[in-house]
């Protein structure tokens, strides 16, 4: 079990401040093997690459009102080849999607059917991206059972859910 240190930069962001130095100083204080749990008012995509360079995998999860919780987990060299669980795996170096689906105006559950059909056609390690109206809650268990990884969240206006699915490599 990884031990996580909480860093909540939402107050800094709401006040219009720059949280980068706070995150980096928290990072410097981590014990070996410790991870970082970050709370932010948006999905901090640029940070993912920085953290990957420092040896941290990330898993992002949307909270209410467009806020995000991101777990940065140190990647131990010994476990690199073992497949982590879906939804919590490291998302470094995901290739550009080979398929892009716009499922926003399809009747439920058609978006789920199309994503699963397209996912089945992906080559090992390939990704697809899909736009949806809602969080596809019934799709996640199906993806998990089939060994796919995914990353998803609402756009800042809350109207579109963006999902990226990666086939097992």
């Amino acid at each position: 079990m990884t031990d996580y240190i909480d860093v909540d930069v939402r107050p800094i962001l709401r006040a219009g401040g720059e949280p980068f130095s706070v995150i980096m100083s928290a990072l410097d204080r981590l014990e070996p093997g410790q991870g970082l749990r970050l709370y932010a008012t948006f999905k901090p995509v640029p940070l993912f690459a920085v953290m990957a360079d420092r040896g941290f995998a990330h898993s992002a999860q949307a909270l209410d009102a467009g806020e995000w919780e991101v777990l940065f987990t140190p990647t131990a060299p010994a476990t690199k080849q073992s497949a982590p669980a879906s939804g919590t795996s490291d998302f470094d170096n995901w290739p550009e999607p080979v398929v892009t689906l716009d499922n926003r105006d399809l009747d439920p559950p058609e978006p789920m059917v199309r994503i699963l059909a397209a996912a089945e056609k992906l080559g090992p390690g390939e990704t697809l991206s899909a736009l949806l109206r809602r969080e596809p809650v019934f799709l996640f268990p199906q993806l998990e059972k089939r060994g796919y990884h995914w990353l998803g969240g609402f756009s800042p206006d809350g109207a579109t859910y963006e999902l990226t699915v990666r086939a097992p490599s």
């Binding site: 994503i115 996640f140 268990p141 998990e144």
Partner: protein, 445 residues
């Protein structure tokens, strides 16, 4: 895990609920309870609790065990509690009904059965409230807030009911006697208004916007509706207890609660119009069309209530008002949504594992809407006819209406069973490699 899996026992709850609804209709056809006898008679208590606990509460609990995890995109707090809760609720209801029958002289007067039933029901509902409450609490947005207020109202309802049960057995002293003598309307308002109506409203927001491809109702609007509804229940329950304590009569409190209740129905109507006018899907499915008839019934019940109050006839016709609210609005909505939920869950269970790998039917291929719609129409027409017979004071015509409701219900249940058995799916698509027919009464783990 993020996401929601298929609730294992939702079908079991639905099956038990429908069985109790048949029991209730059989009692009405046989002329037991209201309107043949007074509203407060033991026979009517049997009928009312079969409908409200056996049918509506079990169906609502079954739906919520599936729906709350979907609302909050998290698994249920404990999947393991659903089945014991169903057992406790069923045993508690049977004990309570036997106690009522004893109260009416139809069985030996073992009045200890009433508190025993209350304890079992409190245990069952307690498991449901903690399980659903702990799940909804994780992400209390939009519709989940309605569920939380509904669960709080359920607690109030059970507390009143338990107090009444202990009083009937002679174990609650003079305070119990006072509350039993005056508090029955509060018990009914908390149960029908708070638990069943507010929860049904919350669930309907999400189901309707999901199936009609409509944007979710703005949180500020739905919060206003919920605030009016929660205030109505709070005024009725808290104000009612204070009024009973001060021996000042319930009229003022119930009038304020009624105005707030009317405001809640109006705000809900405004929210529904927003969902329907913002929809991207023009062609409505049967479940939505039939839900509209339940909304019409809610509006009609509100209208009937206002007319009865203005003409000073509410007390004489409270049975007709309640009948329309319970069977037109609540039962109509539950039946319409149950028809869709069963189809969707059956589809997901049967074809989810092979989806994308082989051609699978659509959800709509599991149902035969043209055939099912006539049973719903028969049911609703019978309910409206039944309401008129109650207003007109025609108990034998009411029994005919109940018989017609039974026919409509039997038709609907037959359709639901056919859906569950994949009986309407074209042969070539029915069971592709790796798919199997779901079990009728529960989902496979």
């Amino acid at each position: 895990m993020i996401g929601a899996s298929i609730s294992r026992w939702t079908m079991s709850y639905f099956a038990a609920a429908l069985a109790w609804l048949f029991v209730a209709l059989a009692l009405m056809v046989a002329g037991l309870g209201f309107p043949a006898v007074h509203l407060a008679s033991p026979d009517t208590l049997v009928l009312v609790h079969v409908v409200c606990i056996g049918w509506l509460s079990l169906a609502m609990c079954g739906a919520l065990f599936q729906f709350v995890p979907v609302l909050v995109a998290r698994p249920l707090f404990s999947e393991k509690w659903a089945l014991p809760a169903l057992g406790l609720l069923t045993a508690g209801l049977v004990s309570l009904l036997a106690g009522f029958l004893g109260l009416g002289g139809r069985l030996p007067a073992w009045l200890w059965l009433l508190p025993l039933g209350a304890i079992l029901l409190a245990g069952g509902f307690g498991l449901v409230v903690v399980d659903l409450g702990m799940t909804a609490w994780l992400r209390p947005v939009g519709p989940a807030r309605f569920v939380l207020v509904g669960l709080a109202s359920l607690c109030a309802t059970v507390a009143f009911g338990a107090m009444f049960a202990f009083t009937h057995a002679g174990w609650a002293g003079s305070i119990g006697e006072t509350i039993l003598a005056n508090g029955v309307p509060l018990h009914a308002i908390a149960g029908l208004g708070g638990w069943l109506t507010l929860t049904a409203m919350g669930v309907s927001y999400r189901l309707l916007s999901m199936f009609m491809l409509s944007p979710d109702v703005d949180d500020r609007k739905s919060n206003m509706t919920l605030a009016a509804g929660a205030l109505a229940i709070a005024v009725a329950v808290v104000g009612g207890i204070v009024a009973i304590w001060l021996v000042s009569g319930l009229n003022v409190v119930l009038s304020i609660a009624a105005v707030l209740g009317l405001a809640t129905a109006a705000l809900y109507g405004r929210d529904l119009i927003g969902i329907f006018s913002g929809r991207k899907r023009r062609q409505l499915e049967l479940n939505t069309r039939m839900a509209v008839l339940s909304f019409v019934s809610l509006a009609a019940a509100a209208f009937l209530g206002v007319v009865l109050v203005l003409t000073g006839a509410f007390a004489a016709h409270v049975g007709a008002f309640t009948f329309l609210a319970v069977f037109g609005w609540l039962s109509g909505l539950v039946l319409a949504k149950l028809y869709k939920i069963v189809a969707f869950l059956t589809w997901l269970e049967a074809y989810g594992p092979v989806m994308g790998r082989t051609p699978t039917p659509r959800v709509q291929d599991l149902v035969a809407e043209a055939r099912a719609s006539k049973w719903f129409v028969i049911y609703y027409v019978a309910v409206w006819f039944g309401t008129l017979t109650l207003v007109a004071g025609q108990p034998s015509a009411f029994r005919a209406a109940a018989a017609m409701m039974t026919i409509g219900l039997a038709g609907i249940v037959r359709e639901v069973i056919r859906t569950r058995r994949l009986a309407d799916v074209a042969g070539s698509l029915r069971l592709p490699n790796g798919a199997c027919t779901p079990c009728l009464l529960c989902a496979r783990a």
